[in-house]
Symmetry: C2
Subunit: 603 residues, 2 copies
Amino acid sequence: MSMRTHYCGLVDSQLSGQVVSLCGWVQRRRDHGGVIFIDLRDREGLVQVVCDPDRADVFAQAERIRNEFCLRITGLVRARPAGTENSNLVSGGIEILCHQLEILNASVTPPFQLDDDNLSETTRLTHRVLDLRRPQMQHNLKLRYQVAMAVRKFLDEHGFIDIETPMLTKSTPEGARDYLVPSRVHDGMFFALPQSPQLFKQLLMVAGFDRYYQITKCFRDEDLRADRQPEFTQIDIETSFMTEGDIRQLFENMIRHVFQTVLEIALPNPFPVMQFADAMRLYGSDKPDLRVKLEFTELTDVMRDVDFKVFSGPANMEGGRVVAMRVPKGAEISRSEIDAYTQFVGIYGAKGLAWIKVNDLSKGRDGLQSPIVKNIHDRALSAILERTAAQDGDILFFGADKAKVVNDAIGALRVKIGHSDFAKQAGLFEAVWKPLWVIDFPMFEFDEEANRWNAMHHPFTSPKDGHEDWLEANPGACIAKAYDMVLNGWEIGGGSVRIHREEVQSKVFRALKIGAEEAKEKFGFLLDALQYGAPPHGGLAFGLDRIVTMMTGAESIRDVIAFPKTQRAQCLLTQAPSPVDEKQLRELHIRLRNPISATKPEA
Amino acid sequence: MSMRTHYCGLVDSQLSGQVVSLCGWVQRRRDHGGVIFIDLRDREGLVQVVCDPDRADVFAQAERIRNEFCLRITGLVRARPAGTENSNLVSGGIEILCHQLEILNASVTPPFQLDDDNLSETTRLTHRVLDLRRPQMQHNLKLRYQVAMAVRKFLDEHGFIDIETPMLTKSTPEGARDYLVPSRVHDGMFFALPQSPQLFKQLLMVAGFDRYYQITKCFRDEDLRADRQPEFTQIDIETSFMTEGDIRQLFENMIRHVFQTVLEIALPNPFPVMQFADAMRLYGSDKPDLRVKLEFTELTDVMRDVDFKVFSGPANMEGGRVVAMRVPKGAEISRSEIDAYTQFVGIYGAKGLAWIKVNDLSKGRDGLQSPIVKNIHDRALSAILERTAAQDGDILFFGADKAKVVNDAIGALRVKIGHSDFAKQAGLFEAVWKPLWVIDFPMFEFDEEANRWNAMHHPFTSPKDGHEDWLEANPGACIAKAYDMVLNGWEIGGGSVRIHREEVQSKVFRALKIGAEEAKEKFGFLLDALQYGAPPHGGLAFGLDRIVTMMTGAESIRDVIAFPKTQRAQCLLTQAPSPVDEKQLRELHIRLRNPISATKPEA
């Protein structure tokens, strides 16, 4: 049921002697010894087509063709002459002797060569249709599909059912900014596009669907950092009657299944599990890249009485922190590299970057090269060397500031050094897949500006058993049943056990200073639902774009999305967003604040 | 990996003698002979739990429970006492002797009984979470999932890949009204939510993805007729290198596969195929319900010279039509029923409903009972009786007006009579699944108000081979490679072969009076893509909501959507749409035309 019998890229020696019909695009045409060779391409790859002058009509057609013409050819599969095989191609052992050649459609000359690897992203996104013809993009989107389908099959086998939740829903202006959709029927009212189906999936659990999933678009109107999109795709999952441990077990199985099925890669079994507090202590990050063999050493306690304000200040400050990060063999890092790292940590608010090169421990202080060591008394210096287990040839970097600055700056430095060529040569970077669970997140984090506690995960996250009693008296001590799946330094998924008792949910709202009135207005339907025998439930969400980006090795999530937006939230292909008719605005009961000339006149 | 070992509804005699753990909701509790019986419900069904006073702690817990409490119970599966089995349930042969009973969550008294079948839709949608607990709703959404998954597996096996297209896209204000999304980054600009991924799927074909599908939300901001939703779900498909016949064959296979897999129903093979012209001629509809055994008889030609303006007027009018519809055994239809039918056809613009009861053909005119027969001369009357093959006991209904009015009115009457109890008794309604393809649609339909041709399908539909030459000179004669799949009188899917040559696309735009400038602005990216060797391609889209509604026998598509909107495009559960903060509007560079008190003050 097709104009072709096979995909170009899949014709191989097993078909030798058979006549096949193929459809595809001209990747290259070359004339050689009076014969025309065509590399014909379809989504599965290339095949070589030979047009012989013996067949005058075929040859005449073949002379007309140019790159990117769309052809249908029929011909005989035969072995390539010895020595001309191409082992890089599935079809590399054969060629097609063309019997019939039909030009299905001509092409004007493309604005760029499809195999040009140095195109600007603007060019690529403007001519996205041609860009998508490139084998890498074909591969990326096929792999994305394979991942999604592997997920669906796994979840299907485990009794999960895909239930669609609304795209036109209610605005709850907290967390990220909503995309709004004006209502025509209800003057002055707006829908919001969902930031996630969080509340709906919880309602589905209360409704008894037991195991839900959805691979669905979510929306956040935020200023786009390097690798964000206004619309992104979430593998969204919720289940009833499973504990935190059950949930983590099942979904690490799922991710292992996906890697095995799609890439034939066996991820570790089990994934390591790390408490949030340990992750921050050792790596300054709740998503540590464990491929990097570098750790923090805690020094806050021993720096309180050194005669060096840079260290003693933070060591004595509430919420201050002093750490060292030992880089084995790092003494070879040059001064100019250290200067660059100093600039780098400045991005994260660090006011400098202290360091000690350990040249020769046997020489005591004389064996240490450092601008700061003179300010550190012996006891503290011993503690540094002992705790870091420093060896000759190492360098120690120091962070001393508010804990957040130290964690951000030295955490980022850890990754930067860890990914450098130096680290790879020094054996400080292990090029394997390193998944882990980070668990036991705090329920709340304190927002100093607003002088209030915010939910670290979201306000529907359950505290650990027993911790519900501290929700109001000591929110900072409450640990949540929340978990993130981290892979190579990226959070690829996260979730929590949810609150299923209305009285606990109300307590959390109170801890967050969300009044009864406000809670009712924003989440009344959830609080209402929790009254009717809501089951224990929990779930998580994975970022499909991110997972596929990692699995394909793409540089950007834009390379695993067919029609992405730019960082200015524009589609260069269709020129969206665009002005609309005045009539449309009128029907929606809105007007522009700044009527601009770009607005189209009424149709 | 769960708090339960089995689903309640799936415990059967094979598990007799085993101890199981179950989680679910109390459907009913009854005390009988000192023993407490609980019907425990989960998504798979009910099971009977017995709490014996011998186990004091269990019994004490059981006395506390009420309807819709959420429980976890552990107990022994044993056969029910003889005579108390319930053959309607999978678990009807057994009961669970409760060893442990844990109340996972209590419930306040629900606002209605879950088994109340007479709830208003407002009550159901306001308390949607409880409404969704009803077994029928659980069944509907599970079946919806099964349909979607059967489609995915079929398409996967046939090499189709799911590729996501943008939700935030460009407004093209034709066809239905767009939902708009104001851009924050681009002052005065708007995204539109997609009415369908039409252009993107065509671009994916030009990009060489060959076989695409997506089960995706589409949006139309229209006044909602009985069974429409602002957001609806489309099974969207596109393929390259397949002919119209190939496409129809593959996708009727798909629908047969879905019915077989999900309902174990064998649809006819092959589906009948009917030309649009024949469908209109015989049924006055392009989506005839073939379960109804009633057809139109064309009479326009013989009514030109009758002395009865009601018939001769339309018969002589350009675009007029006169038909009869014979209803076998319909002479028993009463005068009051005929009056009701006359009112009914009035809805569709018919000015009356002429009829003839055929009481006794052997008596000539005397055997006919009718208010109009006196106005019809002998030759015409003979033609009526001959062409309709009228028999004693029949009734003939007549439509005479502009063709559209006749088709709409008598077409609707055909369905109304065909679905009546009379028709079922008279054998005029066959209660089976009746799919068919309607093909050979005209390219264009004339819009008399605007005095221009409109695309009947959409402007990207390919004309039949050869018809592209008439596009400009005689648009009305052009037939399209378009096809609709119809099931029991509903269009469940439709599509077309698309135009893949830019010069044909330009001709169609000219026929539609879309100027070069306008075409470039609206569809420039498509015209541009067509220049680069676009492949022959086509596809179709199925309405998932409608298909599932039919398969479940639901009364409304709202019964197969978890969280639907009302006909006023509102979500009664979350109260969307709702007012938003002034700050949000300011960030989006818009203001309300009619600031209302409902608008919330700035946060």
